[in-house]
Amino acid sequence: MKGSVISVLVVLVVLDRLASGLEHRSYDYTKYHPMDEISTWMNQMERENPDVVSSMVYGQTYEKRNITLLKIGFKNTTPKKAVWMDCGIHAREWIAPAFCQYFVKEILGSYKTDANVNTLFKNLDFYITPVLNIDGYIYSWRDNTTRLWRKSRTAGTETCRCFGTDLNRNFPAYWGMVGISRNCCSDVYNGPTAVSEPETKAVTDFLGAHQNEMLCYLTIHSPSQMILVPYGVPNISAPNYDELMEVGLAAAKAISAVHGKSYKVGTPPDVLYATSGSSRDFARFIGIPYSFGLELRDKEKYHFILPENQIQPSCEEAYRGAMSIINYIHDKNFKSAAVSQTVDNCDCLMDLECKCDDFKPLY
């Protein structure tokens, strides 16, 4: 009797393991998922990878939903340097949340076996928000008439009855200067004031609190196939513009090596159109040294409504682009020990006081 009870229990446990394993294997990263499926998936990622994943609720949307990120990396008692990634500031850009999920899957699936990802997990924490504008994203799934919604879902007022603020114009970085509308019905309405929206505040609070650790800010959008560097306002340059361009161009090269797609690199006033109050600009403005907006596929043909059969290739190339950026930043911050070892190799010309980081090593 005892034996058969044990056998039954063993069978049940095995079935349960199989089921959760199947559940994991069967999460389809080549399909678009509604918000409830993404939330379930986030819980699953945390449950299945307790050593390296923890979730954090860091704010609430207008409609009072929790805004959650996944913190991914080897756990440490002291705060580590960090990389931030958010997807889905704009509701209709469905490929963006799809990419965040793909990115998480890739790093969780490779950190044990891939030396590069393993090192990143050791030295960095990833803070990844798969869907930032949750209210808007859910609304864009409601029916065929809502698919192209962009903004949040803040209710209108007596004086202006339309819903929603463009969250990517609501950040306190040259807020209200250009590329916005004061008409609350407009798709680029920047809100009654800067940081008027709870979604914006969640991000500004978190980045503000983690300013010293944050090395890199990545925000994912579509379409256009571009890598955008600060600032969106004309004639205002980030002090490290040249370096940002260099890193961006290297990322574009890495992207094009995957499936041949070309991504333009530049500031919005150059390659897109002038904007103000974007999250990318805010991150740079408060001192996060590397801040990029990635605009994924497509260009004109499908525009926002990218077919599911392009999710996989889009994510593959964007992953290479993101990793190119992240690895550059990581190596710059964590390989200084290696650089100082090559001190004899530096071409310091006649100046004995030179710092060898400033010169190319001879070999």
């Binding site: 509308s181 019905c185 407009s186 926002f304």
Partner: protein, 278 residues
């Protein structure tokens, strides 16, 4: 630097409110508020003349206009052109007011993808400066357009299939929310894009950049003068204002006459409103 930025920030709050193109703003009636003050316009960087950076948006914006022109003339249910790359661009102010762009660019057919064989084109695009908006004027030359129309067979098969009196195709949401376009709907999707190009061309200015985001509906009307007659509702996206603008249009097509747009009707929506305006 921080002080400078703070001062700049403060100044910006005091300044006039800049705005995207007025023409693309949602109808003021949607706000539900009476007497909303019109938005003031800023001087954008429309001042760029001389050689233009081909990867930057003023060149791309002008090339997109030339592309719409190309599609109105040479698009079909089996051929839609997309912009591949701008090679060279320059702009100059013209005596009568307005600005003329000279462009050297490449296009590819949607069918072959953006990495497919490219067609080289050159164009002059004039954005006139007039009291009321009038569409840009385009002169376009593309190499090898006159070569054998390899889609003739498909066009004739498509025409034969749908010209019969009892054909009454109708469909909604192309692509659907997941980006799917059925095999049968592909030619109608491309036709809608070509027809929409007439509107996008006409509505373009130096403050807009149009694409077709989706076909909301297609409904075949009774054929007339041996032309397929199709009523489309298309959703256009304007980049600078990010607005989705809805147009209803009536288009005709045959292999011989190509696409013609007979009627267009702007369908202003209050997509963001809590309730319809009074």
């Amino acid at each position: 630097m921080k002080t400078f930025c703070s001062v700049w920030l403060l100044l910006s709050l005091v300044e006039l409110s800049p705005a995207p193109p007025v023409s693309q703003e949602p109808p003021l009636a949607c706000t539900g508020a009476p007497g909303h003050a019109p938005q003031s316009e800023t001087a954008e960087d429309m001042a760029s003349t001389g050689d233009l950076e081909p990867t930057h948006y003023p060149a791309r914006r002008a090339a997109t206009v030339a592309l719409h022109y190309l599609n109105t003339h040479h698009g079909s249910p089996f051929r839609v052109f997309g912009l591949q790359q701008v090679h060279k661009a320059s702009a100059e102010d013209v005596a009568a007011g307005g600005r003329k762009y000279k462009l050297d660019f490449s296009v590819t057919d949607w069918a072959s993808g953006s990495e497919g064989p490219a067609l080289r084109c050159s164009a002059d695009v004039l954005f006139p400066q007039t009291e009321r908006h009038s569409g840009p004027e385009v002169q376009l030359r593309c190499e090898a357009l006159q070569q054998i129309n390899r889609t003739a067979q498909e066009e004739h098969a498509f025409y034969q299939r749908y010209i019969s009196p009892d054909s009454a195709v109708s469909a909604r949401d192309i692509p659907d929310s997941y980006g799917n376009v059925s095999e049968e709907m592909q030619p109608f999707w491309r036709l809608a894009r070509v027809a929409a190009s007439f509107i996008m061309l006409r509505e373009s200015s130096e403050r807009t950049e149009f694409n077709m985001a989706q076909v909301a509906s297609v409904a075949q009307q009774g054929s007339s003068e041996e032309q397929l007659m199709l009523e489309f509702v298309v959703l256009l996206h304007d980049f600078p204002s990010q607005e989705i603008i809805q147009w209803k249009l009536l288009a005709s097509w045959s292999p011989d006459r190509g696409v013609r747009v007979l009627q267009t009707e702007w369908q202003p929506r209050c997509p963001h409103a809590t309730k319809p305006p009074n």
